[in-house]
Structures are given as structure tokens and as C-alpha cells.
Amino acid sequence: MSQYQDLAFEGMWKNNPALVQLLGLCPLLAVTATVINGLGLGLATTAVLIGSNITVSLVRNIVRSEIRIPVFVMIIAAFVTIIQLLMNAFTYELYLALGIFIPLIVTNCAIIGRAEAFASKNSVLPAAFDGLMMGAGFTAVLMLLGGMREVLGSGTLLAGADRLFGPVATNWPIQIFSAEQPFLLAILPPGAFIGMGLLIAAKNMLDNRAATKQATATEKVTRIRVTAES
């Protein structure tokens, strides 16, 4: 079980694909103008990650290592096509909103990175779980960034939720304040970069705080030992 806990911690925090590995920044920065767009792309990426990790793990002993990269790419491309067609069928408006960034999931380095670094060396179950957790970490960052930019930029939250969840979600969007003149910087690409920088800074700050706490804890332990010896 502890292996799975490790995998979850790696994906969500310590080795988060967006905040630490800085992979897949292009879709991350481009589609996070709203929470729902972020969630949609995050879910699509997660689905592709799980599928490709499972498949790569299954074929890892059959594929020779010289040709593994083309094989991985084809597996990923197949899953992206599946997701794209599914979104086209069931969430057509979101499909239109995300546009080119759905097929571009193929180029998300986080996916081929996990296929190469983890799935090709582990059995199916851990590989699937790793895909799920890496995808969840990526989705969480997409949603957080999307939320920040949406609230600052247009004063709403969850706008367009019905595009993803269907007519049930028509009442979900929250109007936090009405902006006669939207704060364009937050919606435009520079806002995505600044927001991303702030998120990374916040994560590093939390990590540093935890590290200093741990350091003081160990320091106390040594001090006790010194007094005991003397």
C-alpha cells in the first residue's frame, strides 16, 4: 500500500507534472482562462495518461527498447484520438472551446515522460495508478490556475459548467462580482504566466516551511543526545 501512497504523493505534490516537472505548459497556459476549460482538458489528459500507461505497461516486455519511443507515441496518439472523438460526441461545446488543444495532448511531454519513466518499468496496476495520480495533479493545477484567472479576469467561477456536465449544471456558475471592464491581463497569456509563477512560488514556500520545520525537529534531537553524552 505504501507504494501507492508514494505514487499519490509524487503525482499530486512532490513531482507534480505542472508545478515541478513543468511539463505540458503549452496547454496549461493556453486553456486555463476558466475553471471548466481547465477541468475539461485535465480530465482528457488524465484519461489519456491512464490509458497509455496501462498499454505501455502491458507491452513493455514485447517492445524492443530501440523502437520503444515510436511505439509509445502511437499508443498515446491512439488514446488522444479516442478521447477527441468521445468529446466531440458527448461534450461538443467544450470540444469547440478547447479546440486545437485536445489533439495537442499528444505532444504533452508529461504523458510520454510517464510512459518512459514509469510505465515501461512497472506492472499494470501501479502504472495505471501512477497515470491517475499524475493526471490528477495536472488537473488540480489546471483548475487552480483556471479559478484564479477566471475570478480575477471576469469575476465568475465555473462559467460554462453545462458544457462539461450537461444541463444539470446550468445553475452552477457563480457571479462573484460584476465586472464592467474585465481585468484583461488575467485572461490574456501574460496573466497565465504570472499566475503560474505565483503558484510555483507558493508551492516552494510551503516546501521550504516544511523543510525548516523538519530541520528544527532533527536539531532538537541532536541536542538531546549531546546533553546525554556529557
Binding site: 471592464q181 474585465p182 481585468f183 484583461l184 491581463l185 488575467a186 490574456l188 501574460p190 504570472i194
Partner: protein, 362 residues
Amino acid sequence: MKLYLSSSPHQRVKRDTSQVMRLVIYAMLPAMILQIVLFGWGLVFQAGIAVLTAVLTEGGILLLRQKRVERSLADFSAVLTALLLAVSLPPTLPWWMTVIGTFSAIAIAKQLYGGLGFNMFNPAMIGYVVLLISFPVAMTMWLPPVAMMADPLTFSDTARLIFTGYTSAGFDITQIRSVSDGVTMATPLDAVKTGLAEGRTYSEALTQDIFTGAFASSAGAGWAWLSLAYLAGGLGLLALRVINWHIPVAMIASVALVSGLLHISDMDYYASPLFHLVNGSVLIGAFFIATDPVSASTTNRGRLIFGAAIGFWIVIIRTFGGYPDAVAFAVIIMNMAVPLIDYYTRPRTYGHGRKKSQAQKR
């Protein structure tokens, strides 16, 4: 004759940071007073809001960073940034936009990079660009000079307009701007840009109301006098040796040269050098903004390159870009190039040979 022995440093520091900053602020005062006379009370409020926000933001972040708050606040750099931003803003901008701009300038452009002395970009210009990109409509809503308005805004009406968005009579900024005989007033840069876009020639664009009453046909009334006031303040700073001559001279010469070449190539389409120099913020930029000792180049040759490149970008962006004025963009672009400029213009160390190539090969 007595000879003293003393340890280094032998050169006495003539002024500390706070004195330099205060001198720059004093040099801005005549132009600020002129702006209040020509364009109404708005600047009083903008300066107040900006200074208050800047001091609060700087103090708050210094507390968070566990630095000495009083000492950093006493250097007046935050006040100067706030004032530089305030004079660039339209005088009747809604108060919360000024707060956002000043906060971005101090918090993001200055303190996140490490505070005074570490900021890569000119904080005031970052604040201005944040606002210009976010609220392009509000940021171009300049009221015409008081003398041109049928019904100039009173002190209390200006306050109402800034804080609530409406005057006591219930007019908002768009309505006030078009009150004077139903024609909307634009800044001179705007007027010429839209005039050219509508297919008129440069000299036809100069016949609009905004250009009457100035000292030259291509100088916008009000704006040109303001620029001259900044020129006077800047010359004062030069005389007191607060700033070096390299950046302002290079920048003004470069604006004149580039716009002059364009003007000669097609007089109907490209504005004259005088128009470029006295309208917008070239002169305040040359003396007060580009000379920021932190974000500008630090070598004399580098300063010449830095200033000349800013002048080049100003004319290019004004003429071919989407925004009417370009000083802020030009300064920020060249701020990015400063490390490179400084690297290639390092002065020769005394005593080391001029044959650079040999020295480097070794």
C-alpha cells in the same frame, strides 16, 4: 598644508538614496502643478491614491519579508514610483484601477524581484502596462484640457467621478468627454493615429481642435506645455548631477532621428519629429523614467545604446503598433536587454591592454 591619511573609501558619498529620490520628486513638482492647472484636479487624487497604495504595499511586503520597514520606506523610492505612475494615468481613472496598477508596480515588479536595487524592470512602467493591457478603454480616456471644456469639472465632481464613476449631475466619463460640442476629444497622439487610420493625411489630422492654441502646429495644446515642464525639471536634474546626460540625450536624438527619417520619406503619413517629441511621454520618459538607476544600463556607452534603442522603439511602436503611446513598452523592452548591453560595454580595466582579442584568448 595639512595632509590627511584616511582609509578607503576616499570619495565621500554626496547624496544617499532618499535625497536622490526626493530631488527627482521636486523636479517633477512644477510639471505636476502645471498638469493640475491644465487638466484639472484629477492628478491630486491619482497621486494621493497611488502614494498611499505604494507605501502600504511596500510596508506590508517588507513586513512579510521581515525587513526593516521604516528604513526602506524612508528612501522615498515607493513614493517616486507612485508619482511617476500617477502622472502617466488619465486624471479621472477610477480609483481601483490606480490601486491595481500601483500594487502591480510595487508588489510584482519591485518587491518580488527583491526590492529596491534588484528590480529588473522599471516598476512604474510595469504598473502602467498592466493597466494599459487590462483596461485599454479606460486608460485612453483623457479629458481635454480645462481651457477647451465648456464646463470644467469642479474639485468635488472630479472626486465623485474617480470614486463612484459619476459626477453629481449623473454624467459618466464618456459623456463628459463628448460634452464640448458633441465631439469626443482625444489626446494628440490618438487624434493623429485615428486620423491617419481614417485615411486623412498627417497635416489634415493636425487641423483638429486639440492642436489649436499650442506653440507649434504639431504640438497638442496642453500636452506640449506639460512636456516642456518635464524638460525643465529634467534639465534641473542634469544640472544637479542627479542623472547623467547619456540616456536623455541619446533617447531624444534617436526619437528625432528615426521620426525625422520617416517624416522625410513620406510627409503625408509620418508625423514630424517635433510632434513625436512634445506629445505623449517622451520627455518625461527621457529624463525621469529611462534614467532609473536600477533598471537602466550602468556603463556610459551602455547608457547611450540603451537610450537610443528606447527612442527607436518609441517611434516604431507609435507608428506601426496598436497603442498610441509606446514609452512604457520601449522602456520595458530595453530593460530586458540591459544585462546584455552591460556585458558588451564593460569598461576596460585600467592597466590592461587595449588588445582585447589577445587578452580574451588567453
